[in-house]
């Protein structure tokens, strides 16, 4: 592998427009950054926000969603449904401290092989500047912190005289 850090991108492309556009980019032998991993779905409407969160949690540095242009959806309006969810998710992501450029929704039609190339290259450049997201490492850290807290609480509880009510509280806390 090259010494330079390369971001990892997961892309969810709809079968009819963006996946086909990526095929076209291939047939046209356009060259773009190799760090993107495309997952094919029938429609951008199938993109469950959990997919995006899951990809980030499992180590992706960015997620790209590609769908048909507005009013061009093969399934009439799946892309609008995707857009609605995306707007809500964006707020949640910013609350979580995930920078805006990491998750992107793009309309790319079957004819826009060139756009696949530009978007992927742009995203790669943006995320290279932002640096690794490193969610798995953060999760480990957070897990450790949680364990630490739990241990501290546990120790406190043990010091106090055990009474029935407390024991019950403790149990629910553990659940």
């Amino acid at each position: 592998m090259t010494s330079e850090w390369n971001p990892r991108l997961v892309a969810f492309f709809c079968n009819w427009c963006t996946y086909t556009a990526a095929d076209l980019a291939g047939v046209s032998r356009l060259k773009y950054a190799s760090n993107v991993r495309v997952i094919r779905l029938m429609c951008s409407g199938r993109v469950d926000p959990q997919f995006i969160l899951d990809a980030l949690a499992k180590g992706a540095d960015g997620v790209l969603i590609g769908g048909c242009h507005p009013s061009d959806c093969h399934y009439v309006e799946g892309n609008y449904k995707c857009l609605r969810r995306f707007q809500l998710l964006k707020r949640m992501l910013s609350d979580m401290g995930i920078e805006e450029g990491r998750v992107r929704l793009e309309w790319i039609s079957a004819a826009e092989g060139e756009k696949v190339k530009t978007v992927i290259n742009e995203m790669t450049a943006t995320i290279k500047q932002l640096g690794p997201l490193g969610m798995p490492a953060k999760f480990e850290e957070w897990d450790k912190e949680m364990e630490h807290f739990a241990a501290a609480v546990h120790a406190q509880e043990a010091q106090k005289a055990p009474c029935a009510e407390h024991a019950q509280l403790q149990e629910t806390a553990h659940v």
């Binding site: 592998m1 060259k31 029938m42 449904k81 969810r85």
Partner: protein, 669 residues
């Protein structure tokens, strides 16, 4: 827990070299070795051409010998060969959906330049597929009956040929045409290249055959307004514009035209490109099919601004007499048609020469477009075939400019393919009609076709002058006495190597072909795609040139890209054959990627119901749960993504399948 589950499956992995298409950029043996170690993988091979017969046989043999129950092939795009490999897996005795395909050609080897990185990417994608395929379930292909009727949209030569082919095969065809008559652009042409047989002589017999064919329902002056349904079962709404004439009662005697209160034709005649005039009641051209007149409410005295005023004395109605064919109260009607397949042949638009102002079209009356010349040289045209200019003179010298609105970054970049040939045809015809000196200004002479280059040779022998160079401008500014009163073409003669000024009486612009103005609306209506230039996109440029991304919808002719008549007719025949193949099979096999509801999990929140664009989801009041009608579901998965309780499952794109794919692409560093 997951690991033990994975151990239960026996996956076979195959990576294709695709000659050197993949192998040149991806280290295939290394990927195979990497995959071999993944849980559940029983064997992992690399092979030169997986899609070849030996490649497919290899899969089938391995399934039997190694008791494989899952197969993954890493090769080209699934849009290209998923069917091939599913069939191979099925022939090997497995359910075809125990298969997954990895795209490492279009999405990897063809788009990357670093072999190490491309190989790593292939590994990650393969890893994802291995994880995913373990979760695959056995699925059944759904068979739906197909409606045998066909709709052809557009009645140019492509639509006519496709409709005739289908009708002769015994299918019922609806042919919808926007204009009052079928015929399209070809009906306007005088002769066709390179054989110079007259366009009308070869087209009109076909037109009248269409008009009288028992299997063809001709809907002229009509447009498709809406399309619903899916392959095999489309419902199409056709809007029938009022022509103020009852088609069945009009005999085409044209007495109404002769007796119109306007004694002389005085309105813009679309068919003759405005070079001739017509009356408010008209028949577009003598061989129009159907032979039914139409009344133009924009200019008819019985209307004002298109609204019926009934103020004309209606001599046309009197002339029509007993036939009672004229009906001024006609309204736009809407008709629903049920068909199984649709052939779209909506044709092209000629480039608007005004977009190249330096050639002076619209400014100098003696600058013509090629289509106008077609009408001028035509015996049934506005001048009965006499080539006279707008000022009444016969041209003594004519300059023909090629590539107007073609091969030009400022307008259209593509070559329109027909202009070189039709320019030469017009050069020949103009010479024949007028004896004028003719110059042709070309960038490159493009004559690929049977007899085309020979036609060029013939023109050279006839003494037409060919000058290689893109014309700079057409001007009426004279620099010498012989240029006085003439149009001067200024051009760099790139073979002689100097700039020339040549005076002409008449200039002809060989305008290129463009997508129809409403191509985008048509595309949306039929759920098709367009290329960047706006022509309809074929499913595959080589292997599926008349299919679209929507099953059961085919394209033919110049709506797919510029082409000449022979190619158009060939394509129309191909589209008809594809449609016939679909219909005669009797049923459609539908991808089983539909969604269904887990009854035990559904809490009856109804979130999914308004999301479905096909109203496939309903609420079962007795069970207080949603249900999905599998026949209506098209498998987009929008409801699956929205279900708060996760109780909707999409076949082939199940949550657990996608999560394992996400896991897989990220598992490998």
């Amino acid at each position: 827990m997951d690991a033990t589950k994975k151990q239960d499956v026996r996956i076979g992995f195959y990576i294709c070299h695709c000659g050197s298409n993949i192998a040149a950029m991806v280290d295939c043996p290394a990927v195979a070795r990497y995959v071999e170690k993944l849980p559940g993988v029983v064997l992992s091979r690399d092979y030169k051409y997986m899609c070849s017969d030996p490649g497919q046989e290899l899969i089938q043999k391995d399934i039997k010998e190694h008791q494989l129950d899952r197969v993954v092939v890493a090769s080209c795009s699934p849009l290209l060969h998923e069917h091939t490999f599913r069939a191979a897996v099925e022939a090997g005795g497995l359910n075809p959906f125990f298969f997954h395909m990895v795209n490492i050609r279009e999405h990897d080897s063809w788009v990357h330049t670093n072999k190490v990185e491309a190989t790593e990417k292939a590994k990650a994608l393969a890893h994802a597929a291995i994880q995913r395929v373990a979760k695959h379930k056995s699925l059944e292909v759904k068979k739906v009956p197909i409606h045998p009727d066909v709709l052809v949209v557009g009645g140019g030569i492509a639509g006519i040929h496709a409709a005739m082919t289908m009708a002769n095969a015994g299918k019922k065809v609806y042919l919808v045409e926007r204009e009052p008559s079928i015929g399209g652009h070809m009906a306007k042409f005088d002769k066709t290249f390179p054989t110079l047989d007259c366009a009308a002589c070869i087209l009109t017999p076909k037109m009248s055959e269409v008009g009288s064919h028992p299997n063809i329902t001709l809907l002229t002056y009509s447009e498709v307004a809406k399309m619903d349904g899916y392959v095999g079962n489309y419902t199409v709404t056709v809007k029938r514009k009022p022509r103020y004439v009852i088609e069945d009662q009009c005999t085409g005697c044209q007495e109404c035209i002769a007796n119109c209160v306007y004694k002389e034709p005085k309105f813009h005649d679309e068919f003759n490109e405005g070079l001739g005039k017509r009356k408010p009641v008209y028949i577009p051209f003598p061989q129009a099919t159907p032979q039914v007149v139409a009344i133009d409410p924009k200019v008819c005295l019985n209307f004002r601004n298109g609204v019926l005023t009934d103020k004309c004395k209606k001599s046309c109605v009197t002339a029509c007499g007993e036939k009672k064919a004229i009906d001024f109260t006609q309204q736009e009607t809407v008709q629903d048609i049920k068909v199984g397949t649709i052939i779209v042949t909506t044709g092209f638009k000629t480039f608007d020469a005004k977009r190249v102002p330096q050639y002076g079209y619209g400014k100098f009356p003696n600058v013509y477009t090629a289509l106008e010349i077609e009408r001028l040289v035509n015996a049934s045209g506005p001048t009965a075939g006499h080539v006279v200019m707008r000022d009444g003179r016969e041209p003594k010298s004519i300059g023909i400019i090629h590539c107007v609105g073609s091969r030009d970054k400022k307008t259209n970049r593509w070559c329109s393919r027909v202009c070189c040939m039709y320019s030469m045809k017009l050069a020949h015809l103009l010479k024949e009609h007028t004896g004028a000196e003719i110059y042709s200004f070309y960038i490159d002479m493009r004559t690929p076709g049977k007899g085309y280059e020979e036609f060029y040779d013939k023109l050279l022998e006839e003494g037409v002058h060919f000058i290689r160079g893109r014309v700079g401008e057409v001007t009426d500014w004279a620099m010498s006495p012989e240029e006085e009163g003439k149009l001067v073409i200024r051009v760099e003669d790139t073979l002689a190597g100097y700039v020339r000024r040549i005076p002409f009486d008449m200039v002809v612009l060989a305008t290129g072909m463009e997508p129809q103005a409403d191509a985008q609306d048509v595309r949306r209506m039929f759920n098709m795609s367009c290329g960047s230039e706006g022509f309809f996109l074929e499913r595959h440029p080589k292997l599926a040139p008349v299919s679209t991304f929507t099953e059961g919808i085919f394209i033919a002719g110049a709506c797919q890209g510029p082409r000449d008549i022979p190619d158009t007719v060939a394509q129309a025949g191909a589209a008809a054959a594809e449609a016939l193949a679909l219909i005669d099979k009797g049923h459609i096999e539908q991808e089983p990627n539909t969604a269904f509801i887990l009854d035990d999990e559904c809490c009856g929140c109804k979130s999914c119901i308004p999301l479905c664009p096909y109203t496939a989801i309903t609420f079962d009041e007795s069970k207080k749960k949603a249900t999905i009608n599998e026949a209506l579901c098209k498998g987009c998965g929008t409801c699956v993504a929205a279900c708060p309780s996760g109780s909707i499952v999409q076949n082939l794109f199940d949550d657990e399948e996608i999560f394992s794919e996400i896991d897989g692409v990220l598992a490998h560093d």
